[in-house]
Symmetry: none
Subunit: 249 residues, 2 copies
DNA sequence: TGCGAATTTGCATAATATTGCAAAATAGTA
DNA sequence: TACTATTTTGCAATATTATGCAAATTCGCA
């Protein structure tokens, strides 16, 4: 039996029952518990389930994240969000800009998250305000209805005042040679400022954004530390982005 | 049964009944009271419930999302809001600061309102974003969960960049001799900056705020142009504020 | 202040995870 | 096809975590 078949079996079970344990899976699939454990480990790091001591749970049963995320989020974004969570460390200062992927990340945060968030994304405010231990710093500016984010020179100059450990760059277009590009100049400029002031930048993008370009160039691919997508790290659609020194997550 | 499943059980019960005790949970889940105790301890440190002697309670201070907050409007605030609307003219630049009274004003605006709004009040953002012709400028800063407004030096210095025709000053304490005062210094400082940069300032206050003082002095009464309350203009409770050269609305 | 109940702490036991390693399976290549 | 390199899998030794029990401590209340 192929590993992928086991993955499917595990995910189906989790979807149906909401949970799974090593022993019965090992029996059903006729492999050792160690193998199942490694499978679940792998599915966990790919954001497809929640690994807990003794087995695994479906993401919707995670008792430590209390946001209602069922409404507006696609499965792709949930996967990206789960993978992204592993990048955020306690005590860090984190930039997050516009885009619903960043909202998905916020809604998956564990309830006791403790870090400082600097953002121009107004959609994040109601979500983050429920986390008592997250210090929220809002970057002001001209509010854009389309993206629910603040933009303009004011936003850039405010962003310039903060230095972050991590920047989670919201959905944008990526292309091997032309780098990262944005639909709006004002958005792109904020991205550039945040990139400049962060130790590490990770781009968050679903597979539709790979090999796409928009008109405003934000940066080269090599300027970012990593790329978080909804694809497994070994997916051929990511081949274009290998060997550039960026981490594929 | 996985630990996380117990967590979910406990949280569901708490959500439904508002409380839970060790003994019955231990029975239902078939584990010792110690385990339940440790579960509740863990949920408590994650901020998902309130641990008390003998069991747990749901968090009384349910973090309201600001949609909820803006929905909550007393009759008094509606009266103030409707009176305030007539002060706003097309094409003006208007400052609005924190407080639910300003939310009430925003929610009563006519659909075709056309002006520029500058605010540090995050609760206004979702309300105003539905108005196509209102240009919204957000003042950034440190987000305060209590008031859903941005505060701090950053907010003040941003406010200083704009000059408004009108400033609608949110609920605060007013007293004939001691003037207007605020509960938080950071809030008071923003108010002072907005006051300074506005041609006209109107204070919005329900009758409970009249003849009250707080510790941080914002300004003298004579510095404002008018006072909007839920009382009729001839109400005797407003007598203290007559003859000071301020308009009573 | 003193009593009983609730809670914390330390500890033993059992369950679960991690790690290193070797055998087996698979893929890649000449 | 045969051979090597790589990955996957199972296993054993070790570390970690969860759980229940009992003793010690704290707390609430009369």
């Amino acid at each position: 039996m192929l590993k992928e078949e086991r993955f499917n079996h595990i995910l189906t079970l989790i979807k149906k029952k909401g949970k799974a344990n090593y022993e019965s899976l090992a029996g059903e699939l006729n492999v050792s518990e160690d193998t199942i454990r490694r499978d679940i480990e792998s599915l966990h790091t790919n954001g497809l389930l929640l690994k807990v001591r003794g087995g695994a749970l479906s993401l919707s049963k995670n008792p430590l994240s209390f946001q209602d995320r069922t409404r507006y989020q696609s499965e792709e974004k949930n996967i990206i969000a789960l993978k992204t969570l592993q990048l955020i460390r306690e005590g860090q200062t984190v930039f997050m800009d516009g885009g619903s992927t960043n909202c998905a990340v916020a809604s998956h945060l564990p309830a006791n998250s403790r870090f400082r968030l600097v953002t121009n994304n107004m959609a994040l405010v109601p979500v983050i305000s429920t986390f008592r231990h997250i210090e929220l710093i809002v970057l002001g500016g001209i509010y854009d209805r389309e993206t629910a984010a603040n933009t303009g020179g004011q936003t850039c100059s405010e962003a310039a005042k903060y230095i972050a450990d991590l920047y989670l760059m919201g959905t944008c277009a990526l292309q091997k040679d032309l780098g990262i590009s944005a639909v709006f100049q004002s958005d792109g400029e904020v991205k550039q400022q945040m990139l400049k002031n962060s130790a590490k930048t990770y781009a968050l993008a679903n597979n539709a954004k790979l090999n796409a370009t928009e008109y405003y160039k934000v940066c080269e691919l090599k300027e970012i530390k990593g790329l978080v997508t909804d694809l497994p790290a070994n997916d051929p659609r990511l081949d274009d982005f290998r060997g550039l020194g960026i981490r594929l997550i």
